[in-house]
Subunit: 323 residues, 2 copies
């Protein structure tokens, strides 16, 4: 592919996600544009500057530096926690030039879009919502890698107000990192990730918490084995992040949780009634689907249903872009 | 430790669990007793005989061979699926000599004890319920290993009717395989495993099944990543086995499922109310417990609360003894 070129990329929140984008564009793509990192305070971008991940930095404390950072920018990435989206965009808005395209890396989209509409008003067309499905156990700019996005999915959720060229420009930026680009409406995005990522986290936290509430918790933990270990691995995730995700994706998550509770109620009834056939039917169907998923390496078999590019990365939908 | 000696061990169901016991006693312990394998049909024990795991075989089809197998036996292990327990013990009962001690390898205990009482009546004292917490992904006698039980837990659930010597004899047999022996009442055993093994399996099957029921199932699977993979690994388990376990451990499993549903309902209410503090409290408490569990390698820190030996093995409570 030909190199992706840009003039000035401003990254708000230079951690794993933002730092890896900067490194990918320069080290993999050879792009020569300037990368400016913006943090809440000087020390939060100092390390990125030291490591050479960014060319210059600015802080939100300093209005003049913020204005200078955004001057002449063609691209802006929001890679701070999603809860900060509206406040960040309100700070950016006064300095937002007409040619600048803003995108984000939040793991929920409905709430981010609402925040962007509130902050940008009529200029919402300049905001192209995105979600790179990539992450590692570690976080922070030290963990940033030039190849973090290779083969990973980036989902874009274009708005009606977005010019096709703006969407394509953000897609091209991510493609230059080695990512595979998919598109879907924000509501579908939020439903998909509520189902395969957010709900499992809630269920896993809930199991550990339920055991803790029982008098023989210690005994139970002492006999917990491989199934428990796998099932609860995600219960070691960040409480703050998952609190935010649960609240940010509330409607979709509640819908999935309710549907799940219904499935559980049916299984409970089958167990209570001693209905082995019903249990075996569900378990067998579930196993077949899980095995089919595993066999294709967690990928879709191909095709482009719903206009989504084939998923490739399969081990990081749960990571916290922007954290 | 001094070698464990026996005269004749009869194993019903020579698969991974029974075969590994036979190999451990001979290859690790150097015991010289005879091991007889009994299967439903000749071909089911033929491979064990070929591999030298057993010295002789008998089939349930052949009453005389069954009688001969049990004649002079000091030990019997039931390692067939737990649903067969009562039928097997009814076949064994006419040939059960007073010195013979019978144990089992079932992953549930309340139902096994009820089956044993029904089949053995006044001779129930000869039956010492047990559960070796060991298994591998593979099954069958080909997968049997002499060191399968090294460092693994074997839980015994002695009955009031058991002579202490009978319990100690079974404990000594398992100890000779390298296992760590724990004891707890059957009801507690079933509660513990309902909580840390059976319930997670049901929850995992349920998640995959719920996704399958939605119109965008394929899209969801295509974006499922590491959290989903770990959470649903156990949904690839045997439908037949987990059907049986759910039914066998029905009362304990229903109690755990109800308690879990209550925790979920509370989390749902917190999400619905936007109560981030409540969510974060649960998630943080859960993470701390999960991390503490991980740090001690899935082991209890020690001590002997409830008379249970420290747990050592931590990756196979979900395996299917006897399958």
């Amino acid at each position: 592919m030909s190199a992706f070129s840009f003039n000035k990329l401003v990254i708000f929140g230079v951690g794993l996600i933002g730092g890896s984008l900067a490194r990918a564009l320069r080290e993999r793509n050879g792009a020569m544009g300037r990368v400016i990192g913006v943090g809440r305070r000087a020390h939060s971008v100092a390390r990125a500057l030291e490591l050479g991940v960014i060319d210059a930095s600015a802080t939100l404390d300093d209005e003049a530096a913020l204005a200078a950072a955004l001057e002449g920018a063609d691209l802006v990435l929001l890679a701070a926690p999603v809860a900060q989206t509206q406040a960040l965009l309100e700070r950016i808005a006064p300095h937002l030039e007409p040619q600048t395209i803003v995108t984000d890396a939040g793991s929920t989209k409905g709430d981010v879009i609402a925040a962007a509409r509130a902050a940008l008003g009529a200029r919402i067309g300049q905001f192209v919502p995105g979600h790179p499905i990539a992450g590692r156990e570690s976080s922070g700019v030290e963990a940033a890698l030039p190849d973090l996005y290779v083969g990973r999915n980036v989902v874009l959720c274009p708005l009606e107000e977005n010019a096709p060229e703006a969407v394509e420009r953000i897609a091209a930026m991510w493609r230059a990192t080695g990512a595979v680009i998919g598109q879907m409406p924000a509501a579908q995005h939020d439903r998909v990730f509520a189902s395969v990522s957010h709900l499992p986290h809630v269920l896993s936290f809930a199991l550990v918490d339920q055991i803790l509430a029982t008098p023989d918790a210690e005994l139970k933990f002492s006999f917990a084995a491989g199934g428990f270990r796998d099932f609860t691995r995600i219960a070691a995730s960040s409480p703050e992040m998952w609190r935010d995700v649960c609240l940010a994706n509330r409607p979709a998550l509640l819908a999935e949780l309710d549907a799940y509770t219904e499935v559980l109620a049916k299984l409970r009834a089958a167990i209570d009634a001693g209905d082995g056939d019903a249990l075996e039917t569900v378990f067998a169907r579930s196993r077949a689907a899980r095995e089919a998923w595993q066999e294709r390496g967690g990928k879709r078999a191909g095709g482009a249903a719903a206009g989504v590019a084939p998923a490739v990365g399969n081990d990081a939908a749960d990571a916290a872009p922007g954290k």
